[in-house]
Symmetry: C2
Subunit: 202 residues, 2 copies
């Protein structure tokens, strides 16, 4: 078993943090997106979408999509639960994970893809759209500050995959100058808590 | 228990088809997005994101996000399995569901939101970005035709949530003139199979 990934990209970090929380160690193999190593025929045979990470299982299965990889490991090793504890809680955690994914992570990624020099000349960029994404991310961050007034973590009193998605998104946002504001005290308290867990270094 | 939804919108249809496949009946209450009924204080108290569908449970919990709602019902009534049958298969189905969601559904929705008259004056539109979404959707549809050469359904030999997401996306694509091309025989065969299941009318 190994994971094909790129340390600098945000999606692979979601899986690394998830595995660190579980205490699971998997060998990593780097795929340099900056050198288009994710566009080679060999890589596209593993994942036709050209995205990292990809989990290679011992039976030769290639499993892509960060959250699908996380779900695989959650079932292999349920403790500590990061995707919820019973039917209702699993749906609740999925709701918050998806809110963080669509409302925050995808907006921050959309801003980066459409405005940052890293992709200039490599992807078609629409800066006007990137700026709308940035605005949406800033509004979601403000909303999150209010939501965190009443609870310790994003989906409730327990650390979950929703916190991982939000942490990785917010750290990724720095590259686009999207940040937690000083007056967002609840969010700052949450960020302090999740970013100092040992898993955050993964 | 009831579901707050809008029959004309694509995300609620994903849940309706899912429930029809399970044979589960839940009362529906309409929220007219065209009249901004999803922006009222009452609706935002249920779902601060202002999105449909929202599942209202008998204990007063409001569960949003289509796939989270589907997961809730999958656990309440596992048969027929639409999210996979064991740990590896559940991850595999999630991978394909997410590929259909990000590569197809979100691209078609991005095209509609940014180019269609329905949202003119209601949302900031960036037609140049919408056209990129359309191109990405057309390429993913072409990829899907190749993938369906070797199997009956999107995630393998069994109908799953990945087929539901793709069916709803492709039907929604008509509004943006995104269609299955006559030469895409595998995709046409799949579409014929999934769109004639009784659940497709839900």
């Amino acid at each position: 078993m190994k994971i094909h990934e790129f340390t600098m990209a945000p999606n692979p970090r979601r899986v690394r943090v998830f595995l660190a929380e579980k205490g699971i160690e998997v060998p990593y193999q780097q795929v340099d997106i900056g050198k288009n190593e994710n566009r080679t025929p060999e890589f596209l045979a593993m994942n036709p979408m050209g995205r990292v990470p990809v989990l290679e299982l011992d039976d030769g299965t290639y499993l892509a999509e960060s959250v699908a990889i996380c779900r695989y490991f959650e079932e292999q090793q349920p403790e500590p639960p990061l995707l919820g504890t019973d039917a209702k809680d699993r749906a609740w955690v999925e709701m918050w994970q998806r809110r963080m994914e669509f409302g925050l992570f995808e907006q921050i990624a959309g801003c980066f893809r459409n405005t940052h020099d890293y992709f200039k000349g490599r992807l078609p960029q629409v800066p006007e759209y990137g700026n709308l994404c940035k605005q949406a991310a800033i509004e979601r961050i403000q909303g999150l500050d209010g939501e965190l007034a009443g609870r310790e973590f994003i989906a409730g009193e327990r650390y979950t995959i929703a916190d991982i998605t939000a942490l990785v998104a917010i750290d990724f946002g720095r590259l686009s100058n999207i940040r937690i504001e000083p007056e967002q005290k609840n969010l700052a308290r949450w960020y302090q808590a999740v970013s100092t867990r040992p898993s955050a270094k993964a």
